[in-house]
Symmetry: C2
Subunit: 340 residues, 2 copies
């Protein structure tokens, strides 16, 4: 596929793993080349067969050379032993540290290693284990993030401008591509809101008070991404993902996001027509394009009158994932209680 891209092309690039409802045959065919990372009768993620084979070798090595035995491996499943979150997390860490040391996988070796723990949830929506972020896509577990679009509304929709950063040319993932104003992954123990505030400060130098006042969560998007070379590490790694989506409308001179670390080269207040052109030309990081398409739908920029694939796009932006998902901790029982 080459530019110019349609909106559906851009959705397809991110939600690229076959969907069991829309393409059941392709989905089934793909599964035959995969193994399962499981907990009891539940599948937490899909693993490519070569990764599964490496894990078998590592587990044998751990048993014979290191004196521990943390994996249960069948013909087509792997699961990690442990009676608690802490024990399971400790057990998987030993294997991942070994892979890091041996440079087994590029994605979690050298500067690929993030030294950041990501949560994996069990079917009841509670934490099941924590694992090194860069290894999550080896096990194909669901990852979580936040994306915020900071924009200056115009007299008409066409006059809208969006604060758009360019990723630093030295970044290991998607160097030089355009990004959402604020975006980042949710580490274990952090809420979506904590992450938004942290990334807003780190990436765009936005004040916490401003985020508290103006950032609004307006949904979540979800997709099942097969990573390409630009993602860093091996190609084809599996990354089902949920992004909490935030909008922040600001006045023209109210906020000027500034690079605050080495993540971002610069920010420009980009006119909507230019954002569209850059989308069409494939200049946005793929999942940022995905989030912008959701923004365009909600802001009546993509409409049923102009977009033949409107219904498919609206549905694909919110893919149902076949893995256990995070349930927020602040559960309240009834609708009305939410109002408190």
């Amino acid at each position: 596929m080459s530019p110019p891209y349609t909106y559906l092309d851009l959705v397809n690039q991110v939600d690229s793993f076959p969907n069991a409802i829309l393409h059941p045959v392709r989905h089934a065919e793909r599964l035959t080349a995969l193994k399962l990372f499981t907990s009891g009768s539940h599948t937490l993620g899909y693993m490519h067969d070569p990764i599964f084979e490496v894990l078998k070798t590592t587990a044998a090595h751990e048993r014979s050379e290191k004196g521990y035995d943390h994996w249960v491996i069948t013909a087509n499943t792997v699961s990690i032993k442990g009676e608690s979150v802490e024990e399971r997390s400790r057990n998987i860490k030993k294997t991942l540290d070994h892979w890091r040391e041996m440079k087994t996988f590029e994605v979690c070796s050298g500067k690929g290693w993030r030294n950041e723990l990501y949560p994996v949830y069990s079917p009841n929506g509670e934490l099941f284990l924590e694992m090194e972020r860069s290894a999550a896509c080896l096990f194909g577990v669901v990852q979580y993030g936040v994306h915020m679009t900071v924009y200056v509304p115009g007299a008409t929709t066409d006059d809208m401008r969006i604060w758009t950063p360019t990723r630093h040319a030295t970044k290991s993932t998607y160097p030089g591509m355009l990004d959402n104003t604020v975006a980042g992954g949710i580490s274990s123990g952090m809420t979506a809101w904590d992450t938004l505030v942290k990334e807003g400060h780190e990436e765009a130098y936005l004040e916490e008070s401003l985020i508290n006042e103006k950032a609004k969560c307006v949904g979540s998007v979800s997709y099942f991404y097969e990573r390409d070379a630009n993602a860093g590490g091996e190609s084809g790694l599996l990354q089902p993902e949920v992004q909490y989506v935030y909008d922040m409308a600001v006045g023209e001179n109210e906020v000027v996001p500034k690079p605050n670390d080495m993540e971002v080269e610069n920010f420009v207040l980009m006119p909507l027509a230019e954002v569209k052109k850059n989308l069409e030309e494939g200049k946005f990081k793929p999942n940022c394009a995905f989030v912008l398409i959701d923004f365009f739908v909600r802001h009546n920029i993509i409409t049923p009158e102009t977009e033949a694939d409107y219904i498919e796009i609206c549905s694909r932006l919110h893919r149902a994932l076949e893995f256990p998902l995070c349930r927020s901790p602040a559960a309240k029982k009834h609708v009305h209680a939410h109002h408190v």
Copy 2:
């Protein structure tokens, strides 16, 4: 299930047919009790077995008594003969007219018959046939509609009020329940926008100029509904559905929707807290509750901080349906062309 309902309860009431991704075993079990309405290798809708048996009897009667033979029926599929949209529509009409005359199914007899044609699409997104609206749920084909929320924003979100109609006590479907400000099904040959303007006038006496100026399409929601007794006709009929969703923000005294036909008893400008209470108590027509939950997500009324099932709700509001869907006629090739 009885009140008070959570938001997820309300979603479950509307998106009630098992989802192949989230509940593959329940989905497969349900399919064993169904037959398929097909076109070639594609499934256009699911049919309950007793309906399939009636169709076999009717087709045999048509062949022996009326001299025509419009159905191809196998052990588990039915398809309608015809080389064109017109021919297929004419053929299915003969069977449906017979059922109406014989009062075979309550849903499309007597005052159930709508005398309105609904479109069924083929896998390329083009019109495949037109059929009587009230019979669509016998064949389980996808139906399309529009829902608009007309609201008066407040100083804070909590001060928002929503123009809420009560359905007339004499309506055959969901009598006396609360509804969205404007809602209606899309007939064959009508666009979503045409339908919004027509229903806005018929149901709420809104001027076309006002709708043109202020109504914004902000997405589509989709679900697979198994009809209950309140829907009119037989219970359990299958209704996969897509609703184009519109928002219209108005000033306090700018618009006063008025009943313009026998659909609506009255409109009230309902404070948000009261809308929530009525949702919790199950007083909204189920798919109107579904659309309001999407409104609540987009307007930051339901948030990840207050709703444990946030991710599931966002995904379930946009279910991927396993049937061919409408593609809008106004297709443009590239992202940038949409800007024209």
